[in-house]
Symmetry: C2
Subunit: 167 residues, 2 copies
Amino acid sequence: MLQKSLPMPTPISFSVHDHRACMIQAIDQAKQLCAKRKLRLTAIRQQVLQLIWQSHKPIGAYDLLALINQQGGKAAPPTIYRALDFLLEHGLIHRLASVNAFIGCICPEHGHQGSFLICRQCHRAQEVTHPTLTSKLQKLAQAQGFAVESTILEVSGLCQACQREQA
Amino acid sequence: MLQKSLPMPTPISFSVHDHRACMIQAIDQAKQLCAKRKLRLTAIRQQVLQLIWQSHKPIGAYDLLALINQQGGKAAPPTIYRALDFLLEHGLIHRLASVNAFIGCICPEHGHQGSFLICRQCHRAQEVTHPTLTSKLQKLAQAQGFAVESTILEVSGLCQACQREQA
DNA sequence: GATGGGACGTTATAATGTTACAAAAAAGTC
DNA sequence: GACTTTTTTGTAACATTATAACGTCCCATC
Ligand SMILES: [Zn+2]
Ligand SMILES: [Zn+2]
Ligand SMILES: [Zn+2]
Ligand SMILES: [Zn+2]
């Protein structure tokens, strides 16, 4: 079960857009999702989610920790990791293993693995869908007798803006 | 440039096989490759490569460090990481970001990104090819104006043996 | 208003990876 | 061979990322 084929929002990380609106929408969506599933979006969990969305690029656990403590909090690593675990578990964020950082999920309802384009220059990342790709992968794995449970797919390279800057 | 389409050896990690023969062949191949490219496969680099191949599953940097020091060495982390960097740079090993571990490459001549099936139970991993998959991915990225430089694809799940054991 | 499970605070520690600089070894040059 | 230059290794300290253990608090339910 890699991904359901519901429509996903258009990815826009690499485009100019009102990121504050993204965050507000994401928080709102998270609240609804937690209400629906009877989960507790506690103050810290919401704060972590908000900080992740406020960042225009994937953010590390200790950067989050610093931000929280700048804002008057007095958190320790376990606090952050517990919040991150909760958000991960319920699909509200993704973890990018190749850069040890976290990013908000653009469609938390889906229950999916994320796939990401990550710019090595500006460090922004964008979640993308891989419609046929997922099934191809499934077949490839099944041919080996391997039962897929989850997949990480992280593409590193240059986003359009950074390509232009390079030239 | 994700991958050239030369023939790759049949993956056998999850099958019963003479792993010692794998290692000997891999070391031999590494020596040839380094000779051809005028690279220096120093004692430590060869030892690290050999230890990686001796392990029947991906192995972490600090486990390698411990093994080397068990064998009479007196290495510190930088020693290991430098050897790993060399081996990575020249495609002799791969790094599995999702488990922070290293694994020997089954076809170091190719200059490719690896894709891996990783069993969450027995922790063995197997490198696989993704012939059409790579090009699909390229197209997907290009549609976003993204210039791909490298890709990590790591599939987690259960290998055939562990599936049977489960049942 | 007891009580039980989940969430959080706190301290310490584990695991992974890097910087900086000195010494040694190897390779190139005459 | 003696010199210089480059590459590799040794060593100590440090940085980053993540977890363990245990006690306390909150709060929903009974
Ligand atoms: Zn997502
Ligand atoms: Zn960029
Ligand atoms: Zn390989
Ligand atoms: Zn297995």
